[in-house]
Symmetry: C2
Subunit: 416 residues, 2 copies
């Protein structure tokens, strides 16, 4: 049943109220709570697993959701480890980015503060409940979680454990709240709770993210979709190119930083195409290609126009032969999702031009697109990968969950 | 007449196309164009003034718009000076915020890039056309301008001059485009041009900004509304408090960083209220107050609940007596627009608590709220004052018109 607007507003008010207190906690206080949450997850494992079993019993859960929805003792232990890792990370809150004296003699300091209240909208992965709560809490943000209906019992159990740890520590438990009603109507109201929610972060399928972008009036950080390209330049080391393309495509094909498209310079296409097609097929990849590709390797499946804009998230790749780096860049800027793009080349100039002109969060020379990841980047955490240009771009760690304020000390200055 | 969607999309495509080239211009190239624009404004002053006269002849222009709409030789000279000042500012594009080597040996650099295409929506001030164009151009962004209908001829003339300077320099003139149709229907379509516009910045009345927030699907940077408070603490120097309150209220009452509300600690209210009320009235300010204020100064006009949330932009102030700093902070966080807030106190602890707990872009100790301004902050420019927490908060200068990308150099790394 749809949640009443007033009830949702109350959730928002509670989150906002909690956020004021959260912003004042010391780093030690926050870390202690995170460690207590980790211990509580382990201690209350049986309750969590029982709730998860309830979710899994639901015959309406699509088969493809079962794996990501399933919790085990190991997966709960992983969540607890994750909480401990977040506790060990440096706390950005209170840091001064820079400080200066203006001409009137005011001391101005730009200081990191929490965003306030973060709304997370996600699908059937209960681990997001714990991850997102930990990262928001560490950065002094209250979080309102709206997970998928398939995981409702699991999410309720997990949030109960986390809130219990907050309460035991004397912290307002409304720092972490779960929307118990998973209807679309309630989700839409949530996306418009501008008085209380400072930012929405959707995590999940392209469809989920598009829905949030279309319906939300709260500012959104767009995450996720990745139609990532590798361009093999005429000056590429071809063995390296194969390693990079195969790794990008097959190492974990379902994720957003997987390679989806291969562009090959015409000067090396005749030599290279048979090799790379074979290497991909050896790993079970379906290869599609444009006419020039098929002129060289005839049994490649024809690629249609729709292929160029599609994120397969699967063992499929589409290949196109281009006459120049400029054509490769133009193709990428037309079809990409501004996520991750790579060039393989030993020509320094070609590499730097590619990095400068390709419009994407992460642009690689001679490396796999799979590195676009908060952990690989050394952030120690990741709340998602932003594909927009506002606020945060690419992997988002703790500092991307903060804002800033100017704190200004005067001694009676007035404006002339 | 409403503009066809296809025509608006073409405008967007042209802007996006221009933005790719803009991102590649050197700082010297950009500065030369800005100086050429300044010269062209002066050279073509007669044409601009004639177009402005056409706007001013329109009998439907509201009286209150006439001053801001009127151009003179002096005002055109000011615009030219503004362009030269922007040329003299440092260029953030290409700067590396930081760079590091990850555990796989990848060299990762976080580098400043343009946002891409910026949409500016504003009212009857033709100077915004030139200011915004200069700041967007300096930061390598294409801009699409949608000004108020009252200023259409002036804006057309100004944009023609700026585009002429672009063309003469061999730069794609679609770096600066004006939406010629000022209907609301076209404005709404513009706000939803997500494929081509990276960010919308509305500048003007609270109503304009609320409309953009409600209708836009393009990310918006919310600017402007300022319901700014001064809290006079029990440990305030009262003479200093008077200077700060009077300056904040009367120096330029129509702007967003003007002081709108005065909170006074009960311990000093009986002593201080008669003085400050008199000082404000001496400057023509209408003083409204809560019951406790009126118990001390009986002829103060009663403030209603609506007053606390209202930005007057006029010579009006509302006064409230509070029992503690905590009550002052709670009141501010309930009613403010997160713009600028000040405490007057000689108690260091009280000042720092206020700065930490008040939720606003700029929080002052012992200074006027009027200092919230890109020029006063030393940014050398200002595109607006953000009252949101995402991306930019407070005065926005050049760097706030940029995004970043990660450029990553490898030598064959693949993900394990």
């Amino acid at each position: 049943m749809e949640m009443a607007t007033a009830d949702l507003e109350q959730l928002g008010q509670q989150a906002q109220q909690a956020s004021y207190a959260l912003g004042l906690l010391t780093t030690t206080q926050k870390n202690d709570v995170l460690l207590a949450m980790a211990a509580a997850l382990t201690a209350q494992q049986a309750t969590i697993l029982a709730a998860n079993a309830q979710d899994l019993e639901n015959p309406q859960v699509p088969e493809k959701f079962v794996d990501r929805l399933t919790l085990t003792a190991d997966r709960i232990a992983d969540m607890a480890t994750g909480l401990k890792q977040v506790a060990a990370l440096p706390d950005p809150i209170g840091n001064v980015d820079h400080a200066w004296k203006n001409t009137a003699g005011l001391m101005i300091a730009k200081q990191r503060v929490p965003l306030g209240v973060i709304g997370m909208i996600f699908e059937a992965r209960p681990n997001v409940t714990v991850d997102a709560s930990a990262l928001c809490f560490k950065t002094g943000n209250a979080v309102i979680l709206r997970g998928g209906k398939e995981a409702l019992h699991s999410n309720q159990a997990l949030v109960n454990v986390l809130r219990g740890a907050l309460q035991a520590a004397g912290v307002d438990e409304n720092a972490i709240q779960l929307i118990q009603d998973t209807s679309h109507a309630t989700a839409e109201k949530f996306m418009q709770l501008t008085d209380y929610v400072d930012v929405l972060i959707p995590r999940g399928s392209a469809r989920l993210i598009q829905t949030v972008l279309a319906k939300a009036t709260v500012p959104v950080i767009e995450t996720g979709a990745g139609n990532c390209h590798v361009y093999v330049d005429q000056a590429a080391q071809l063995k390296m190119a194969t390693d990079i393309v195969v790794n990008g495509k097959v190492q974990r094909p379902s994720v957003c930083n997987a390679t989806e498209k291969l562009l090959i310079h015409a000067a090396v296409a005749a030599d290279y195409l048979p090799t790379i097609v074979q290497a991909l097929r050896d790993q079970g990849v379906e290869v599609r290609g444009d006419a020039r590709t098929r002129a060289i390797v005839p049994d490649v499946i024809p690629a249609t126009d729709a292929d160029w804009g599609t994120e397969y998230n699967d063992l499929i790749i589409a290949v196109k032969v281009v006459d120049s780096e400029a054509e490769a860049i133009q193709h990428i800027n037309r079809y990409n999702t501004q996520h991750s793009e790579a060039i393989v080349t030993d020509n320094y100039q070609a590499g730097k031009v590619f990095q400068q002109r390709v419009n994407a969060a992460c642009v690689y020379i001679n490396a796999s697109t799979r590195f676009t990841d908060g952990f690989e980047f050394g952030f120690g955490a990741e709340i998602g990968i932003s594909t927009q240009k506002l606020h945060a771009r690419g992997p988002m760690g703790l500092v991307e969950l903060t804002s800033y304020k100017y704190v200004i000390d005067g001694n009676g200055q007035v404006r002339q």
